[in-house]
């Protein structure tokens, strides 16, 4: 049983509370969805329930929290972990030991459990999470979905009564999400209390007992409106000429392990194409080949008429945006960030135009790190657009963004497409693909298994 009363929390070095006067009751065995837009306080609430806040974050917390009789504001995170375990977004950051089995043992040993109990717990965790075939495999060799299952197994082995999931499916592909759903169904059937925060919770509908909708740090009665009122539909653009031509390309990172064998694919100018497929199907590799970051072993790639080019040759003709905005921002202000690329190319750029056009004028002198994740991703995108590329490639650009933010980002891409720019993007979020793509290419292990044009 979780009881929260008048919980108010303010992060260090900030003035305003992220959570305000939260009252909450969650019964044993309930499956609870915490929803809300980015910055609404979802993760903060979860962190309060297992002591990460205030112990590891600091800040000012007032109010009462009772988690199965424990007070996480007083006890250590390690102590509360055996009652309320948490799984985060990025599985790579939650795995600490070389093999699957050793990683599950890690938490049990830290908890000081006797050897006999550890072996029983580890065995059970391996079975429940479907990891028995990988037990002695190096954790690095697992897929993202399997890694996330391992992260859950590590928590499961501590036998907590409450499982907290903080956007744990963000990095997973469709297959990984299905596997994750099976685990959640199993936890619910075992009577565990599950509290999950998700940006795209549609797939959880049949499990949810209770919804907590957060808006600006307070529990909002009813559902928070996170869907745009109308699905934006953009007029199709008529193609003329070829933007990218891939002719009989073969490529592999290692000898005799080719990802692509004799791949043929054309992207016409002005197309809006989604490349979909599970992790490891070759989406990012395809983009890197198109951009000249990787060189095809056999065959030829032609981009805007150029062949045998390198990334430096096509810089400015093609723009590439990837998942994490923080790896793509370098300047001290938003305005400088937008001017950064054109300056390197020796091209004049009127930053004011871009700031106005994309609604960022109020942030011109702000350091990019002061913006929200969605805004940082937009700045990274605009910074690429400022280099006036004809081809825009977006690699999982919507990962980690809430619906409102990804709609804004993809609307920008759609608007550019309607001006004749070629847009190619990959996404695991099929809502994004459904809403925006005019052509959908599905890759499976480096093969094009379907290529459909949509009306």
């Amino acid at each position: 049983m979780i009881k929260v009363r008048r919980l108010t929390y303010t992060y260090p070095y900030t003035e305003f509370p992220v959570l305000k006067d939260i009252d909450l009751d969650i019964n044993d065995g309930e499956f609870v969805l915490v929803e809300g837009r980015s910055g609404a306080g979802k993760s903060t609430l979860l962190y309060c329930l297992n002591g990460i806040i205030p112990h590891l974050y600091g800040g000012k917390l007032t109010g009462e929290i009772n988690v199965n009789g424990l007070d996480p504001t007083v006890l250590t995170v390690s102590r509360v972990a055996s009652t309320a375990g948490i799984v985060f977004q990025n599985p790579d950051l939650q795995i600490f030991m070389p093999t699957v089995r050793e990683d599950i043992v890690f938490g049990c040993k830290n908890a000081g459990l006797p050897e006999s109990t550890v072996s029983v717990r580890v065995h059970e965790a391996l079975i429940r999470m479907g990891l028995v075939p990988f037990a002695d495999k190096p954790a690095d060799e697992l897929s993202n979905g399997q890694k996330q299952r391992l992260a859950i197994a590590g928590v499961y082995a501590l036998a907590p009564d409450i499982f907290l999931f903080d956007e744990s499916t963000t990095d997973l592909d469709e297959k990984g999400k299905k596997e994750f759903l099976i685990i959640l169904e199993r936890l619910k059937s075992e009577g565990a209390t599950v509290i999950i925060s998700e940006h795209e919770p549609g797939y959880l509908e049949h499990l949810i007992d209770k919804k907590i909708s957060l808006k600006d740090g307070v529990i909002f009665p009813g559902e928070v409106e996170i869907l745009p009122a109308e699905m934006p539909r953009h007029p199709p653009v008529f193609s003329s000429g070829t933007a990218v031509r891939i002719k009989n390309v073969s490529f592999g990172y290692r000898r005799r392990q080719e990802i692509f064998t004799g791949l043929n694919l054309d992207f016409r100018k002005g197309e809006f194409t989604a490349v979909v497929g599970d992790n490891g199907s070759g989406k990012t590799t395809l983009f890197k080949l198109i951009l000249g970051i990787l060189r095809a072993g056999k065959g030829e790639i032609e981009l805007e008429g150029a062949v045998r080019y390198t990334l430096d040759d096509i810089c400015g003709k093609a723009g590439f945006l990837f998942q994490n905005p923080d790896e793509q921002l370098f300047a001290a202000t938003v305005e400088d960030e937008i001017a950064f690329g054109p300056r390197q190319l020796g091209v004049q750029c009127d930053t004011e135009v871009y700031l106005e056009a994309y609604g960022m004028i109020q942030y011109r002198g702000v350091h990019p790190s002061q913006l929200s994740c969605g805004e940082r991703q937009r700045v990274a995108f605009i910074s690429i657009l400022a280099m006036c590329p004809e081809i825009i490639i977006l690699d999982e650009p919507t990962t980690g963004l809430d619906r409102a933010n990804w709609v804004r980002l993809m609307d920008t891409a759609a608007a550019l497409n309607s001006q004749g720019k070629t847009v190619i993007f990959s996404s695991h979020n099929m809502n994004v693909v459904e809403m925006y793509a005019r052509r959908v290419i599905r890759l499976e292990a480096g093969r094009v298994v379907s290529d459909e044009i949509r009306a």
């Binding site: 992060y11 006890l75 250590t76 390690s78 985060f88 600490f96 830290n110 370098f330 350091h367």
Partner: protein
């Protein structure tokens, strides 16, 4: 050796007799071989040692790629050591057996008095080559047959500090992750027009890469620390009832993971210099000192606590030994002296890095201590290598200058990173 192949000298998952030995035995083996390398002096004894160490390597069943790599590394070591000692041998008596440049040759011959190959130099080169072959082969055997995490566990059993071992474990765990992140940032910079192939472009790249790399690492370190704490790790002192106590003179989990990320950054930062600028004769200590001191001082600026230098410097040394060069205690005093001198400097000042002057002084101290120790103690008494006083002076000067430049750059970057972190709520 192709670019990047050096990184391939890593653990191979096999089931040989050597793989099955406990890491403690391998540590004992490393120490024994290291001591023998120092105390043996005759070519015959060293040959027997090198042959025995090679035999142990073959018992570990290295793959063809590793053998090929080792062969090229050994060939390079033997040729360069043999040739340099044969030509630059400085002890007496010495017998010239081959004339490379006669003494009456214009300019060079007259200036140097002729360049010859000496018999005693060749023998000394051979002895040195055998030492290096034994050290290299021992390192490869231990590295390919012991998983880094198991080596760290052994160090814990051997009473290494748990916090320190945790730092090394995390460095090993997050190395591939950090490599990928660095590659993505470089890619993002190239997409924005930074050319990597020019020297100017490379320097601009370094200027822009540090802040996103460190700030991102801090974000990741925070999540990893949360995950570690929720998996029950409690590296600070807790009372038995689980109530939190304020611990003094200690690092929390976030700081420890941050230190482990900085150890990786120290390692990653010197890789480009190992390949290029760090090989420029007479100036290599200057170029080599800049990046490593820069990262070290950023770390000190972010976690200004007693023990930070020790954790970063000794952690970095041990991390490299576990990952690449094999456990070799002969290099430990080098790291300990560097760490102790800087810790004492900050202790006596009563403050950590708070000005460019402090960064400059600490940099000069670091560079002087490190290179004087190497050339005056480590090289002659451990590695049996002797250098002329003028050469020691030049190298120490450049090392101190490089450390001072790196130190001030680290202080500057540290300020910018702290500002960025404060803005983004880290």
């Amino acid at each position: 050796m192709k670019r990047g192949e050096w990184f391939q000298m890593k653990y191979e998952h096999k089931n040989t007799f050597i793989h099955c030995l406990s890491p403690e035995i391998k540590i004992a083996y490393s120490i024994a071989v290291s001591i023998l390398i120092v105390i043996l002096n005759s070519p015959r004894e060293l040959f027997l040692l090198a042959a025995a160490v090679l035999l142990v390597l073959f018992l570990a069943g290295p793959g063809f790629g590793r053998i090929r790599l080792l062969f090229f590394a050994v060939a390079a070591v033997v040729l360069s050591t043999f040739a340099s000692q044969a030509v630059f041998y400085s002890f007496e008596p010495k017998t010239a057996v081959f004339t490379l440049v006669p003494d009456d040759f214009p300019v060079v011959g007259r200036f140097t008095g002729g360049i010859y190959m000496y018999r005693e130099g060749m023998i000394y080169g051979l002895v040195q080559s055998l030492r290096l072959i034994a050290a290299l082969t021992m390192a490869v055997t231990v590295v390919i047959s012991t998983h880094p995490a198991h080596m760290v566990e052994a160090l814990v059993r051997l009473r290494f500090s748990r916090s320190f071992s945790f730092v090394i474990t995390m460095s090993i765990r997050f190395l591939p992750f950090m490599f990928e992140q660095s590659k993505r940032i470089v890619l993002a910079l190239r997409m924005r027009g930074i050319k990597t192939r020019s020297i100017n472009g490379a320097f601009r790249m370094i200027r822009f890469i540090f802040i996103p790399l460190v700030v991102n690492s801090l974000r990741q370190a925070k999540i990893a620390a949360f995950a570690a704490e929720t998996r029950g790790i409690a590296l600070d002192k807790n009372s038995p009832d689980g109530r939190r106590k304020n611990s003094f003179f200690d690092f929390n989990t976030f700081e420890l993971i941050t230190i482990s990320f900085f150890i990786i950054l120290m390692y990653v930062s010197i890789v480009p210099f190992k390949m290029g600028l760090g090989r420029i004769p007479f100036f290599h200590t200057f170029f080599f000192s800049i990046p490593i001191t820069c990262v070290l001082f950023i770390g000190i600026g972010l976690i200004p606590k007693p023990g930070i230098v020790f954790f970063m410097v000794c952690g970095h040394r041990l991390f490299i030994q576990i990952m690449l060069t094999g456990i070799n205690p002969l290099w430990w005093p080098y790291a300990l002296i560097e760490a102790t001198s800087l810790e004492l400097f900050f202790l006596l000042r009563g403050r950590f890095l708070d000005s460019y002057g402090a960064a400059f002084s600490a940099g000069v101290l670091r560079g002087s201590v490190v290179y004087l120790y190497f050339y005056l103690v480590s090289a002659p008494y451990i590695w049996h290598q002797f250098y002329a006083p003028w050469y020691i002076g030049i190298q120490t000067f450049w090392g101190a200058a490089g450390s001072a430049v790196g130190g001030m750059a680290g202080y500057r970057f540290g300020l910018l990173i702290r500002k960025t972190c404060a803005r983004s709520g880290l």
